[in-house]
């Protein structure tokens, strides 16, 4: 048998693992015979770690020690909106780590997000190993197309911690298109409408002879089926409050019960036009226990979430415009994600695109299947499949005045690189620092900060005489690399500073060495030998260079920080220079020399 590489759909709520060979794709079932495994990690009091559908029951039973929706947090900073929200609503404890990173605290242990996701990945790896009867060490892992570099890097780290060599990070809608079109000799333009638990992604692809070219992609990382649940939770809680004067949202237990009931009701509406919601003894009233009993119909629910559904079409508009086409140019619309089972979504999609969506592939498995097809194509030299993806977000560089200029526009095909020449602006300046962002705003603070890079070690000279070529690369995984070269000496002067949302190479090594794998409960471990040999880290994703220590920023800079994704860091170096491009931002003060 050829090399084995699996495809993993690492989802917010659910994950799947599949394998493809010789044109056949198999989605593996877990010990419960299910192709979908909950992305939930339960930490038992005895030290055992349980992953999957059994762990899911613990969300209500033991909320403090059960981690779910880790994907919403991975690659984010402590002060981001998403983390704030999670801290308010999630049952487990999310703490601030060094440099604005986050850790999950479980009893007296701390876990980084990549570690938690690695536990899910390890479970999926084990499922695949059981079914294949052979150790597996290579995988393609999917991420939402709209994931930024921090989130992608953190996902690669998770794979590595799980003992997997991540052959490629593939965008979920791209994987779905692959599963839809591979091996069929299609010449089509298709759209992938991917509404998951927490994110919405939309991509337009051109398929021709097993070349899958993404024309454009757009998304919303704050929009998914869970938001539908929230609407229903609010409706039920508001009604209950109006009747009984008790806010169920203030009690963790009641809130969890409401969540479960709301999700069940929503899912029920995929099957039936009307569902019954029944929550017995949800609260204690002055004269005994109180319950909720109510019917919910398709139309009422459609009104409740109508604006959320319309928001998905705003994203579609954007992607169509970027691709320079209109909805009627599409030969097909592929649906991905649990919520796309809802008739109200299918109706809205049909209306918007003026055509019935393709529903022949299971919307829950299509991503894992595509990942598996791509994984196989990477290990099989005979494979004819070729993915050509784009970067979802514009890559920007911070300039004076708190602005960010575009280096590489969104929807530019990858891999790609751009080089800019920087210079010193003071005589004998020793270092140059630049900040890199991803996002669509000219205001630096409204974009996600990827990192600050400090370049030193070039020959000191007069202002403007040093010329440093800084190359910004986005690789085929959508991961950003920055390197710098001294133009005169041709010496590499780069030093990458990774921010705290990422783990350093040595941190990953120590996590791997700690061996949490042994703690995964036996029932889920495969009867095959663990693959001991750890693949060395691929050189591109984590730099070999020393990491410069980062310090929290000065308060002054922080004040302007209105948005979530904008941490401010400062390199801890002997001489801290503002970046070379930081000149007086005040344009008006400019004297007219002419």
């Amino acid at each position: 048998m050829a090399e084995v590489a699996i495809g993993i759909d690492l989802g917010t709520s659910n994950s799947s693992v599949a394998h493809a060979s010789e044109g056949n794709v198999e989605v593996f079932t877990n010990i419960y015979g299910e192709t979908i495994t909950a992305s939930v990690v339960a930490f038992e009091a005895n030290g055992d770690i349980e992953v999957g559908n059994a762990a899911r029951a613990n969300i209500i039973r033991d909320p403090a020690n059960t981690v779910y929706s880790a994907k919403r947090l991975i690659g984010r900073y402590f002060f981001s909106e998403e983390v704030k929200k999670a801290r308010a609503f999630y049952g487990y404890s999310i703490e601030e780590a060094e440099n604005h990173g986050i850790r999950i605290r479980i009893r007296d242990e701390e876990f980084s997000l990549p570690e938690v996701s690695a536990m899910v990945l390890r479970e999926l790896k084990a499922i695949a190993e059981t079914r294949l009867g052979t150790p597996v060490s290579k995988a393609v892992i999917t991420v939402p197309a709209y994931f930024n570099d921090n989130q992608r890097q953190a996902t690669v780290d998770a794979g590595r911690i799980a003992g997997l060599e991540v052959l490629r990070i593939v965008n979920e809608p791209t994987a779905a298109a692959l599963a839809y079109g591979f091996g069929k000799g299609l010449q089509q333009r298709v759209a992938v409408y991917d509404l998951g638990g927490g994110t919405f992604d939309f991509s337009i692809l051109e398929i021709g002879d097993d070349v899958f070219e993404v024309l454009s992609t757009a998304g919303d990382t704050f929009l998914g089926g869970d938001d539908f649940d929230d609407r229903l939770i609010d409706l039920l809680a508001d009604e209950f409050h109006a009747t009984h004067g008790i806010d169920l949202r203030h009690d963790r237990q009641s809130l969890e019960m409401l969540k479960v009931a709301s999700e069940d009701a929503k899912k029920g509406l995929s099957e039936d036009p009307e569902v019954e919601i029944q929550l017995l003894d949800i609260a204690e009233g002055p004269s005994g226990p109180l319950s909720i009993e109510r019917r919910l119909g398709h139309d009422e629910f459609a009104r409740l979430v109508g604006d959320l559904v319309q928001r998905t079409f705003k994203v579609c508009d954007e992607a169509l415009q970027q691709a320079g086409i209109v909805a009627s140019d599409l030969d097909g619309v592929v649906l991905v994600g649990g919520p796309t089972r809802l008739p109200l979504i299918r109706e809205a999609v049909t209306t918007y695109f003026q055509q019935e969506p393709k529903t022949d592939i299971d919307p829950d498995l299509v991503v894992a299947m595509g990942a598996a097809i791509h994984a196989d194509s990477l290990v099989d030299p005979q494979s004819s499949c070729q993915l050509l993806d784009v970067t979802p977000l514009s890559l920007r560089i911070g300039v004076a005045g708190g602005l960010a200029e575009t280096l590489i526009e969104r929807n530019t095909p990858v891999p790609i690189e751009q080089t800019r020449t920087f210079t010193t602006f003071r005589d004998h300046q020793e270092s140059v620092a630049i900040r890199i962002f991803q996002g669509e705003s000219h205001e630096a603070s409204e974009n996600a900060l990827l990192g600050e890079f400090e370049f030193a070690g070039f020959e000191k000279a007069l202002r403007g005489e040093v010329e440093i070529d800084v190359t910004f690369e986005i690789d085929a995984d959508g991961i950003v690399n920055v390197t710098a070269r001294d133009r005169t000496t041709h010496g590499e002067v780069s030093k990458r500073i990774t921010l705290s949302s990422g783990l350093t190479k040595s941190e990953i090594e120590s996590i791997v060495a700690r061996g949490d794998a042994e703690r995964l409960t036996q029932a889920t471990l495969p009867p095959v030998e663990e693959n001991i040999e750890r693949e060395p880290a691929s050189p591109q994703a984590l730099p070999e260079a020393d990491f410069l220590e980062l310090l929290p920023a000065d308060e002054e800079l922080r004040e302007g920080d209105t948005t979530a994704e904008m941490p401010i860091y400062r390199a801890n170096l002997e001489e801290i220079e503002p970046h070379s491009v930081q000149l007086d931002p005040d344009d008006e003060s400019e004297t007219d020399w002419e």
């Binding site: 526009e409 095909p413 602006f425 085929a476 344009d587 020399w593």
Partner: protein
């Protein structure tokens, strides 16, 4: 698609900085959008990193810059606005690469004194230098201004004048 010989790959890797986007994608100057897209697909089949996982690391290292240049060529040629700029640049002997990153999509009216804060600042500094007849500083500042706004005509003109001035006043 013919598999490409390793020696050819390495030769192309060495040449890649000298050949223009049309030659790279093996296209005529009047290629249609459709032809450009097809060429991109064909070239990607040969040079995309995914298609070369089985090659030696030396070949893979050679292929990486080619793959990136192919996407760059496609990005420029498929976009009529960029393609027109590029054609003009080629015709005037201005180099085989076009900078993608000019924020051209969001910049409204071009400002002769610069569209970026940095461009304006360095341009202003250069003008100050010129008043003091400090040509070498002016040249440095203009070069810097141009790194922020490659192709800014005002900057380029001024740089040319400064270089000429420098030649005629070599002592300053």
């Amino acid at each position: 698609m013919e598999p490409i010989a390793p020696s050819e790959i390495l030769a192309l890797a060495r040449l890649v900085d000298q050949i223009d986007y049309y030659r790279l994608l093996q296209l005529q100057r009047d290629a249609t959008t459709r032809e450009i897209q097809r060429a991109f697909h064909t070239c990607s089949r040969t040079f995309h990193p995914d298609a070369n996982r089985h090659q030696s690391s030396q070949i893979q290292a050679g292929i990486r810059p080619i793959a990136k240049r192919i996407t760059e060529a496609y990005t420029v040629l498929r976009d009529p606005r960029r393609r027109a700029l590029y054609d003009e640049q080629l015709d005037s002997g201005g180099g085989v690469r076009l900078t993608l990153s000019r924020d051209a999509s969001d910049v409204t009216a071009p400002n002769p004194r610069g569209t970026s804060a940095q461009g304006r600042q360095y341009h202003a500094l250069a003008l100050q230098n010129l008043q003091q007849k400090d040509f070498s500083s002016a040249i440095r500042n203009l070069k810097t201004a141009l790194t922020f706004e490659p192709g800014n005509e005002t900057f380029e003109k001024l740089l040319k004048t400064s270089l000429e001035q420098m030649d005629s006043h070599p002592t300053s």
